[in-house]
Symmetry: C2
Subunit: 345 residues, 2 copies
């Protein structure tokens, strides 16, 4: 089993999550509704932290629930017990093993807060620490770089949001996703061709906003992890508060900009970066409107509801990072200096 | 007035904040105590977002108050009104002008949440939107790159934390800070010398953890903004979950690691990156223990309580970015493509 196999397996994994997931999240949604929860706290690291970021937008936009992304060191290094009584506290981790993430959940549970683990390892320390466990059931992930566990995490977050809202129409939208993800795999040839042209790239920025800020961060992480490119992710708003100064002629700017409320924001910025600063832009989008600002285009399937686009958009981005690693003669199966499970305090 | 003048002015600005600040934050602390606040939400962009990050750790560690860093686009682009009733909602902005930050505070106030503006412009839209206003009173900041307004924001956050805790001993610790910041200016020669050696650097990572994760982010932003270096900031924990794979022989790793609970965490990682991966390391610290892992060292004054080190540590970092800009023949007074006030939706 290779990294590419796991990328290609995602439609099937997501279909499985859709079958078993609704029953798994129902008890969590019921517990959140029945307790006096005023906000959510999510602890996660690496790729799972991007699923947490997606949850911040999904629960924020669709459930009006404010989400705090935890700073685990407050518990693990400073030994503080934050007042989590009125929060639902979620830990998200593929392995369920990292002590700092487990620490946040344990601390919350000890003070009676509602706790939930979202993990691919239902017997892990994280699963044991939480009151509720949602098994991702993504199958064993063997590649060091996480792919299918990431999209499975996003799908579980989306399922939880629909269950919490009791929104059957939104729930039905999810059924389209596995097929759209299968369509998105068709972007491999474009992604690989662009990657080959970028073989000399050592640095870039990755822009996204709203739901797809998570996609920008995850794309950037894959580029760092397997392709050795220093990719710095930014929301298109934050990027204008300083970092924009970096971009000069030929500087690579990657952007995730599917149709929806954030598209024009990302598109306008990209236009400025290209026309005034000479950026070399790669646009991952379904929207033809963005062609004028794109030096290169990675297509994604149309007609995906915007809130679900992160589950689809990351797939061509994973393939782009994979092919860039190959072009740079780095082994995507064995990223240098990494192991599959990282334990941090 | 130049950027360097504003960097050098910081001891005086901080002394002024210490004189007038306690009265300014008292009403805010009283309002937080008297209402049934269960967590804080902070909206900010750019440099001020790093003051928000510092607040996440200070309020978390010293007041046990969970802090959510807001995703302003939830309000501004998606038009959602999050349920902020039980939160204290703070907006932090030098100019007080950015519509997306103002939007979060306005929305919160309209639903009766406690709102606070922390700004250098007490007649700004942000100040008008909030119920309580804390004037930074840092004096006009003319350079595009924010320096003295950043340390003033950190000081106000520290003052607010001591007022909220009613902690007179902690309040007294603050009185040392202006003098330590003055001492920190003495690192200019070291910082400039290292900058001259780094004239060819185009990319680096900046590590920090806990309170000084904010310092790592702000140092990285200054490097991007004025020196054109793609500097990617990481907590030393998150860095191990993937990005570590980037570091190869000669790769520049900058680290902020003052004495305290996070020092050994950052130091151990730096040792691995240097010994096993050949990193070229720059360590900003008061601790002699870290000399073995430092290719270069930028000193900072000893005996600063760890929670206050971010106010001191950023000063040599600002000077490093300033001198790197000069070494690279970029004008630090006029970062390319930027204006002082950035308005984002």
């Amino acid at each position: 089993v290779s990294l590419r196999d796991e990328i290609l397996e995602q439609p099937e994994v997501l279909a499985r999550v859709l079958r078993a997931g609704p029953a798994r999240v129902a008890a969590v949604a019921e517990a959140i509704r029945s307790r006096d929860v005023t906000y959510a706290v999510i602890a996660a690291r690496g790729t799972s932290d991007h699923a947490a970021l997606y949850a911040q937008y999904v629960l924020g936009v669709r459930n009006r629930l404010p989400v705090a992304l935890a700073a685990p060191s407050i518990v693990s290094l400073y030994g503080v017990v934050p007042r989590f009584e009125r929060a639902v506290v979620l830990g998200i981790s593929q392995s369920g093993a990292s002590p700092d993430v487990v620490g946040v959940v344990s601390t919350a549970r000890a003070q009676g807060a509602l706790t939930v683990a979202l993990t691919n390892e239902p017997e892990s320390p994280l699963a044991r620490a939480a009151e509720h466990v949602v098994d991702l059931d993504a199958g064993a992930e063997r590649a060091v770089a996480a792919t299918k566990t990431y999209t499975a995490e996003l799908m579980v977050v989306a399922l939880l949001s629909t269950a919490l809202a009791g929104d059957d129409a939104a729930r039905a939208e999810l059924d389209l996703v596995p097929e759209r993800v299968a369509d998105a795999l068709g972007a491999e040839a474009s992604a690989a061709e662009i990657a080959r042209q970028q073989v000399e790239m050592t640095r870039c920025v990755v822009l996204g906003r709203g739901f797809n800020y998570a996609t920008a961060r995850e794309w950037a992480l894959k580029l760092k992890e397997i392709a050795g490119v220093l990719a710095d992710p930014y929301s298109s708003a934050d990027f204008q508060h300083g970092p924009l100064s970096l971009v000069e002629s030929g500087f690579a700017v990657l952007a995730v900009a599917p149709s929806g409320p954030t598209m024009s924001d990302v598109g306008e910025l990209l236009g400025r970066l290209r026309d005034e600063q000479g950026a070399d832009s790669v646009v991952l989008s379904d929207a033809r409107e963005l062609e004028p600002v794109a030096s290169h285009r990675i297509p994604m399937p149309p007609d995906v509801p915007e809130w679900l686009t992160p589950i689809v958009a990351i797939v061509p981005a994973q393939l782009h990072a994979y092919h860039l690693a190959l072009a740079k003669r780095r082994d995507p199966e064995a990223p240098r200096h990494l192991r599959k499970v990282t334990l941090t305090r």
